[in-house]
């Protein structure tokens, strides 16, 4: 018996697809730019067509045909159910607890899911100044739970953050709850190696699942602290042909749309409409 050879895929594609699978039909999801945006739209284009995507630019229930380059591309407004002012999105929608999942990326994460998007090195004299926290500090507080997606390496999975931009479980062991923070915090971390979830008592991130071609020793080596590993580590199913094709089509039309060169003064209609 011969089976069709499975289509090869990249670790980045697997990460995006694994992240998309975490979202459910009808889920109200606050989306960041980058992998979270790709994953959330992949979910919408596959198993969760009625997912409600909210971008912090104030676009509620948006259904972009191509991934936005920025958080406020016109595409997001044109395809949204509603477009609201920015102070409103953070107060009436996020702070009020209407968001089920906040989907975040980061430059660094620690074992308790605290995130750094601010600086590498000293704050006053940074080695690398990153863009900063943006909407993340309050997404991390008020979304009923957060999912974090980032590539795993000793540089990103660190023993100690250079700067805490958004709260995860802080020092763990219930510190977040004791401080009265409403949301349940980072319940899932999706990487290019597998999936981590907080341990029941300590809230320390624990490897619970891995991709099919990845071994646990490699995952430990990609972590800047001694990684906790669940007694039984699940193996995540590889991408289905539909998932892979849908993701690749999405990236392809996005690339084509954003590469559109435009005569500056002509402001010709190229770009978001491609």
């Amino acid at each position: 018996m011969t089976a069709a050879a499975p289509t090869p895929y990249t670790p980045d594609e697997m990460m995006t697809i694994a992240a998309a699978r975490m979202l459910w039909p009808g889920c109200v999801c606050f989306v960041g730019i980058g992998v979270p945006s790709a994953a959330a739209n992949l979910a919408r284009l596959t198993h969760a067509p009625d997912i409600v995507l909210i971008y912090e630019s104030g676009t509620i229930g948006t259904r972009p045909h191509v991934l936005p380059l920025s958080i406020g591309d016109g595409e997001l407004a044109e395809t949204a159910t509603a477009v609201v002012p920015l102070p409103e999105i953070f107060s009436y929608w996020l702070q009020a607890g209407r968001i089920e999942v906040g989907f975040l990326g980061a430059a660094q994460i620690d074992r308790f899911g605290n995130l750094n998007t601010t600086v590498i090195g000293d704050y006053a004299k940074p080695k690398t100044r990153l863009p900063g926290a943006g909407g993340a500090p309050e997404i991390a507080l008020h979304a009923r739970q957060t999912f974090v997606v980032l590539k795993q390496s000793p540089r990103s999975f660190v023993e100690k953050l250079d700067f805490c931009s958004s709260a995860g479980f802080l020092g763990g062991h219930g510190e977040r709850e004791r401080r009265g923070i409403a949301g349940a915090g980072p319940q899932v971390v999706i990487t290019d190696f597998g999936v981590l979830k907080p341990a029941a008592e300590s809230q320390e991130l624990t490897l619970v699942a891995r991709y099919e071609n990845v071994n646990i020793e490699a995952i430990k080596a990609a972590t800047g602290w001694p990684l906790l590993v669940a007694a039984s580590v699940d193996v995540i199913a590889p991408p289905t042909p539909v998932e892979l094709q849908t993701l690749r089509d999405l990236h392809e039309r996005t690339r084509a749309a954003h590469a559109g060169t435009r005569t500056a003064a002509g402001l010709a209609k190229v770009g978001t409409e491609a």
Binding site: I33, E56, S57, G58, L69, S70, I71, G72, D73, G74, L76, A77, E78, V83, P85, L86, P87, F90, S91, Q95, T118, Y123, A124, K125, P126, R129, L130, P131, G132, A133, G134, G135, A136, P137, E138, L141, F163, C164, S165, S166, A167, L170, R179, G180, I181, A257, H258, G260, T261, R262, T263, A264, A265, G266, L267, A268, K269, G271, T272, E273
Partner: protein, 299 residues
């Protein structure tokens, strides 16, 4: 409301050492006004904006700013603002004091400013290192529930500049689409400068649209394409390719300086800036009528 050329308006109302917010959340970013501030070589500005992007990178790289209040400073979807980074990391071309917030904090500060309240309040910043590095982020205890809440001082810029789609002949202004915190920043300001795509006989704004009445507008200038390379919904889309190109231009001090010299300092106004970019573009311009409005994709 004073109607003038952008050059006249900036000369009259933007002074060295002021606090100034050129607001816009990806959409309707007042690029032309920022370029005019660079041409007129203002110095010591305290720049305020939630999402300083390319125009703030340019102002900072040209040495116009001494301080920045912000919540996210990057090239959206592309990466770093290299001129901002160079100022923070290496004090080039001069040091830049930074007052860093979250988006929710900045939004609360503008909202308080617009309402002329002393501070904005939110459930925010908890567990982060931001309050350690920004002494303006403090706490207040709710007199009703005893809950501790984060506070930020109101933002009341000396000048706010926004770009809008349209004004009518009286100077009433309407903005549509992704509106960010422009209404709050506009009403928080001591003086409000507005650039618009066009002036029309009748505004025809939907009843609940964001309209800034003429008597809160200090000065108005008509600048077609004034938000380019960001966009004006219903007029022209965002030039994402330019944002990607900026990554290469701004990475290097010399390349940046050459670009600014050629495109901003040596151009008379926004129209000439656009003509220069058009002349360099490949393929060459196909549309002789430079800035004719296009129908909105949602129309």
């Amino acid at each position: 409301m004073i109607l003038g050329s952008l050059r006249e308006v900036i000369a009259e109302f933007v002074r060295d050492g002021q606090s100034i917010a050129l607001e816009g959340f990806t959409h309707l970013i007042p690029f032309a006004a920022g370029h005019e501030i660079i041409r007129q070589q203002r110095r010591g500005l305290h720049l305020i904006r939630m999402t300083p992007d390319l125009i703030y990178d340019q102002l900072i790289g040209c040495g116009c700013a001494s301080a920045l209040t912000f919540s996210w400073g990057g090239n959206p979807g592309v990466g770093s603002l290299y001129r901002l980074r160079d100022a923070v990391e290496n004090s080039w071309p001069r040091g830049l004091a930074i007052h860093e917030h979250s988006h929710a904090g900045m939004a609360a500060a503008y909202t308080a400013g617009a309402a002329r309240l002393p501070f904005g309040m939110l459930r925010g910043y908890a567990g982060t290192d931001l309050p350690q590095h920004n002494a303006q982020v403090r706490e207040v205890v709710c007199p009703y529930t005893s809950e501790s809440l984060a506070t930020v001082p109101a933002l009341n810029p000396d000048v706010t500049v926004i770009h809008a789609q349209r004004a009518d002949r009286h100077g009433n202004v309407v903005i549509q689409g992704i509106v960010g915190a422009q209404k709050e920043a506009a009403l928080a300001a001591k003086q409000l400068i507005v650039t618009v795509e066009e002036v029309v006989d009748t505004l025809d704004a939907p009843m609940n649209a964001i309209v800034l009445p003429h008597w809160v507008v200090t000065a108005l200038a008509v600048v077609p394409g004034g938000a380019y390379p960001s966009y004006a919904h219903g007029y022209y889309p965002r030039d994402n390719a330019f944002y990607q190109r900026w990554d290469h231009i701004a990475r290097d001090r010399a390349t940046f300086a050459e670009w600014i010299e050629r495109h901003v300092l040596r151009t008379r106004d926004h129209e000439e800036f656009m003509q220069k970019l058009e002349a360099e573009s490949d393929p060459p311009a196909r549309q002789p009528s430079a800035l004719s409005p296009q129908p909105s994709a949602s129309a």
